[in-house]
């Protein structure tokens, strides 16, 4: 997980240049940002074709792409993607729906925060994966326990980031609003809430990464669908290109989730993004 607000491509895109050399600069920028990734796949392909890699363990990238294409066009992988997105999405949204309001409340109410903090710390430090068997006992081996374990793990980054965001709001701004006679509610709406949005986004992006991590773990245990399940299943059945295709899909899901959050962040709090 990177805390960088802008991806390399965004940073490259932010640089302006004369129209004539813009394309060249852009290409250079892309090369600088993604050259290593391209080189990695090219090296892999070459090593496979030269026979330096055992194809039973590392199939050539073109075979992985072919497996991916087959899976997608036959619809088999699409079903897995849908169910995985559903699990992670429901859990993530539930964590947002609980974590942000609760965090906003706790950030403002010292007694509430003091009362809840020890138990929060305890829960947070207990790995969600260690609790997964407990959740299975409670919710059974179906969707309930899977969604819940992801929800559990994603709740804490959001909650803690929100609490921290509220507590770090510039008190001088609060006092300024107060000096104009703003009510507590107005101060919350006009100062505290907007000022907390950037730190909340840090929590959201961290949570999105955690959601995918837990998704895969949950799908590797007692699932018969989902991208995480496909990774395990393909490996059992020696469909190694398919296994890599599923891994590739997971990485893509992670990147896509981050992209969506970055777009949202740019909309909601561009003022905190671009450097002076």
């Amino acid at each position: 997980m990177t805390y960088d607000i802008l991806t390399p491509a965004e940073r490259a895109g932010a640089q302006s240049a004369a129209p004539a050399s813009r394309w060249r600069q852009r290409a250079q920028g892309l090369l600088a940002d993604y050259g290593l990734v391209l080189g990695f796949f090219a090296g892999w392909q070459i090593a496979s074709m030269a026979g330096w890699l055992n194809p039973a363990v590392f199939p050539a990238p073109d075979r992985v792409v072919a497996a991916l294409w087959n899976g997608l066009s036959s619809g088999a992988l699409v079903d897995d993607i849908v169910i995985s997105l559903q699990r992670a999405g429901i859990a993530f949204l539930a964590a947002v729906a609980l974590g942000i309001p609760l965090g906003l409340l706790m950030g403002q109410m010292r007694p509430l925060e003091r009362a809840l903090d020890p138990i929060l710390q305890l829960f947070r430090q207990t790995s969600a994966l260690a609790l997964y068997p407990v959740f299975i006992l409670i919710f059974g081996l179906g969707e309930g326990s899977k969604v819940f374990v992801i929800f559990w793990a994603t709740l804490f980054p959001i909650l803690l980031a929100t609490i921290g965001g509220v507590k770090e709001v510039d008190l001088k701004l609060v006092e300024m609003a107060h000096s104009f006679g703003a009510s507590q509610l107005t101060i919350f709406r006009r100062v505290i809430l907007p000022a907390s949005v950037p730190p909340i986004f840090v929590g959201l992006r961290l949570s999105a990464t955690t959601a995918l991590l837990l998704l895969i773990a949950a799908e590797m245990i007692g699932a018969n669908k989902g991208v995480g399940f496909q990774v395990m299943n393909a490996q059992y059945n020696f469909q190694i290109p398919l296994m890599f295709a599923a891994i590739f899909l997971l990485a893509t899901l992670g990147l896509a989730a981050n992209w969506v959050l970055v777009q949202l962040q740019r909309r909601l709090c561009s003022w905190s993004l671009d450097p002076r």
Partner: protein, 256 residues
């Protein structure tokens, strides 16, 4: 332009005001039995050593701090807490980073319940007054320090206070900007006919802007000294009279 500065409201009366804090358990008296009258429309500068209680006094006037005892009266009515008749300009501009200049200036009105379009219309008037009309859609981080402070001043004026409370508003600015802003403040004060209480470290600034200078004594809780500045306006720093007043002020208050 002589002292034709007459307004009917915004007179401040301070009666027997005391305030102490607790520092590591020990009481620290900052203001002791302070009495002061500021006629409506007057501009008073408060100077004094660091820690002498200037900010504390200003915050009590603003209603941001409670006195231990004594009264603050505005136009003969005792006040407690904040009031729309006063606005504060802090040492830092305290602009809201996600609002553009216009919306920052309108902020005070908006939190007081004025509708956004109405607030922005009134804000534009004060943006013009501080000379920042072209910057109305800029964000605070795109402004220089002096411009940001001007936005803060415009925001304080937009709510049309009777009393303007300024705590070292120009302290963080460079010398050139500071001089320009002092002129601007002097002009705004004359135009807006407000009572002005200005905390400053800068004696020249005090003489340039104030009708009266109050010096808080070095020893905490002592009796402050007051001196009238009878110079014609607009004032000129290089003027012989100005220099004389400055010297007089410095020797009278044992500042050199």
């Amino acid at each position: 332009m002589f002292d034709t500065h007459q307004t009917t409201s915004g007179a401040v009366t301070i009666r027997d005001l005391s305030k102490s804090f607790h520092l590591d358990g020990a009481p620290l008296t900052v203001l002791r039995h302070l009495d002061l009258d500021i006629p409506a429309g007057q501009s008073l500068a408060i100077v004094g050593a660091s820690g002498s209680g200037k900010t504390t006094l200003l915050r009590i006037l603003a209603g941001l701090e409670e006195p231990d005892s004594g009264d603050v009266l505005i136009d003969d009515f005792p006040v407690r807490g904040l009031g729309r008749d006063r606005s504060v300009i802090f040492q830092e501009p305290r602009l809201i980073p996600w609002l553009n200049v216009l919306r920052n200036v309108a902020f005070g009105l908006e939190v007081q319940g004025v509708a956004r379009t109405e607030a922005e219309t009134r804000a534009r008037r004060y943006l013009r007054l501080v000379g920042l009309t072209e910057f109305e859609s800029a964000l605070p981080r795109q402004l220089s320090g002096g411009m940001a402070q001007r936005v803060g001043i415009a925001r304080a004026l937009t709510v049309q206070p009777e009393i303007l409370l300024l705590d070292e508003p120009l302290g963080a600015l460079d010398a050139m900007t500071k001089l320009a802003m002092q002129k601007e403040l002097s002009r705004i004060w004359a135009e807006e006919r407000v009572t002005m209480v200005l905390v400053t470290h800068d004696l020249e600034e005090a003489i340039f802007l104030a009708d009266r200078v109050m010096v808080l004594p070095r020893e905490k809780g002592g009796t402050p000294k007051l001196m009238d500045i009878d110079l014609t306006r607009p004032r000129d720093r290089s003027d012989r009279e100005f220099v004389r007043v400055r010297q007089q002020l410095m020797s009278e208050f044992g500042l050199h």
